[in-house]
Symmetry: C2
Subunit: 364 residues, 2 copies
């Protein structure tokens, strides 16, 4: 039982998600708790220099989640975890080699492996929910806590490929050659992701985000049937209100620009955008139905601080004044269009956040 929560002090992020008035544009950064921060690297050493050692330890996961908030005036925290915890709980055997991406010991590549897949016992993900509750308390109401999961399709990519991929050959071979098997994987994943996110909400997550990191590798027409449809089912199954509070849902498809209107129609409160999308044009198309999150290229953070501030401000200006001439509000949450690079100079993030907070107040 999570117990009594501290009173939320800065609700700007939640307000922007719900297209309510805000005093400034809220900011958070994908992968904001991560290797670019020396304090993160120090905690990771304590955890045996292991990513999953951090993620499965409630104390460490709490510690690293809060680190970027102590350094920067961010408007939301995001659970420190991985998008692949769900297939790991299905028994696929997740590991992270030194300097490598994730690997599954038991990829799902044939009919028997697909038939054996099942929604995992959520008790195997207890460490995630415990971390959510711990972080929510440790935040002391400073900012809201975002929970997250990979999308059914993105999880399926890793489950079939067994890790990252350049060409998605194995998963697309199954998709085109045995669509029945692919639909079965996606169906199991959608059920599992729905249960997983609802358990995060019950554990204390105040918003949830679905990362469709690999939706953008699909062909037009295929994306809609094999990625978006299953994300839609997840969104439809989520608790949208908990303990009297609305729980916003964010959907982010990397490379999803071609399908913006369709993504905005699946019932999420917020659509995440990568940097290839013109934010002002996206707002004109869907901004009266969903809030928009994004969309700075994380590589901008390698420019000198003055250029970083300038590019960040250009994103704010592209969205424009969130209040419409008729007095209603559209929602913008500033973010990167992808996770922050491990090589990012931390002081450049300081310059970004300061410039954004300052400039966004002038847009009200």
């Amino acid at each position: 039982m999570p117990g009594m929560w501290p009173t939320l002090i800065n609700d700007t992020f939640l307000r922007a998600c719900l297209r309510q008035p805000t005093t400034h544009t809220p900011i958070w950064l994908m992968r904001q708790a991560g290797r670019y921060l020396p304090e993160y690297r120090a905690t990771r050493v304590k955890a045996g220099n292991s990513f999953m050692g951090l993620a499965t330890n409630v104390q460490y996961a709490t510690e690293v989640t809060l680190q970027p908030l102590d350094r920067y005036a961010l408007d939301a925290a995001i659970l420190f975890s991985d998008i692949l915890t769900v297939p790991d709980a299905m028994g696929l055997g997740l590991s992270f080699g030194a300097g490598e991406g994730p690997k599954f010991a038991h990829p799902v590549r044939d009919e028997a492996a697909v038939a054996a897949l099942a929604v995992p016992d959520l008790d195997r993900l207890r460490y995630v929910f415990d971390a959510v509750t711990s972080i929510r308390h440790a935040l002391k109401g400073r900012v809201p806590l975002i929970g997250f999961s990979g999308s059914p399709w993105t999880l399926a990519c890793y489950m079939v490929e067994g890790g990252g991929s350049d060409d998605y050959r194995l998963v697309k071979s199954m998709l085109y050659g045995r669509p029945d098997l692919m639909h079965r994987i996606l169906d199991v994943n959608a059920q599992a992701v729905t249960a997983y996110l609802n358990a995060q909400i019950e554990a204390g997550a105040q918003a949830v985000m679905v990362f469709d990191s690999w939706g953008g590798v699909l062909a037009d027409g295929v994306f809609q049937r094999f990625s978006l449809e299953y994300t839609r089912r997840v969104v439809a199954g989520l608790k949208r209100s908990h303990e009297g509070q609305t729980v916003p849902v964010i959907v982010f498809t990397k490379g999803g620009g071609p399908w913006l209107d369709e993504i905005a129609a699946i019932g999420a409160d917020v659509v995440g955008l990568d940097w290839t999308v013109n934010l002002g044009a996206a707002r004109a198309r869907v901004g009266s139905r969903v809030a928009l999150q994004g969309n700075l290229d994380p590589m901008v953070l390698f420019a000198p601080p003055g250029a970083v501030a300038r590019e960040g401000i250009a994103v704010l200006d592209s969205f424009g004044r969130p209040q419409r001439p008729d007095g209603t509000w559209d929602g913008h949450i500033f973010n990167l269009g992808h996770g922050i690079s491990q090589h990012t100079p931390p002081e450049h993030v300081t310059a970004l956040v300061e410039a954004l907070h300052r400039h966004s107040r002038t847009l009200r």
Copy 2:
């Protein structure tokens, strides 16, 4: 002096590029001469198992260019070469490690290296022009020959990164931090690419294609200034007519879907599309101004032949009947949205080409 050319027998590809009537939809496949063909691998062994050994030898380059035409009823040949020949001729030292991508021994990363860049002496690319002439003769007029180059931005990516990249950190750091240096590289590249493609046209290329393989990694607004503008300069500088024949120009930006209208406006005859773009919607937007090339996901070729044929036909149907109700024609050239995978079963390509030729005749 290339001399007298054989009479062109199958001009379907050129006609489609110029939005003229055609009896069927012409087909060619990016990287159609490549490792998925056993006969290619055999020639490569003769060339010391070296990619550049093939590309720099006129006889071998001619041989491998014609191999896919002997196997499949393709409607165009494309010069066997690499997009990085131009920076190699600039002295950057191109090499291909075993099983690896391209590497430059001398990447361009600082002010001195940028200042030293110059349009290369075209004599250093003589092997390319000799191959073009040799292939044009060897084709005996069966189908037209396409020449090509990387775009100024795509070349710059490799020149600064020194090879492939996951995040384009070095080239984007220069772009955002020292845009003056990036513009100088792009200016030199645009001049070099223009001269290089014009020399290919003089040597016998009957159409030319600019591969902007990495334009899609740029942010909206940045793409237009750092990629599209320099491709536009190349297109503006090309010989569009040679020896009394129109020489069509194709521009392909992988991931360029968000900027389709802008790409279609730079003066090319044909715009290449990847598989994320809805071909029918693209035609409705720009099909009366440019022909469209694409856009099957190359991973479809790993499905069984029946599914391959079905997905290929779906691409044709998405474009629809090329003749408009008013009697004028739009142009469609069938292609993949990226190079064919080296792991592709060659007999699946047979199924694809046969199905496309058969079905596309029913659309007339």
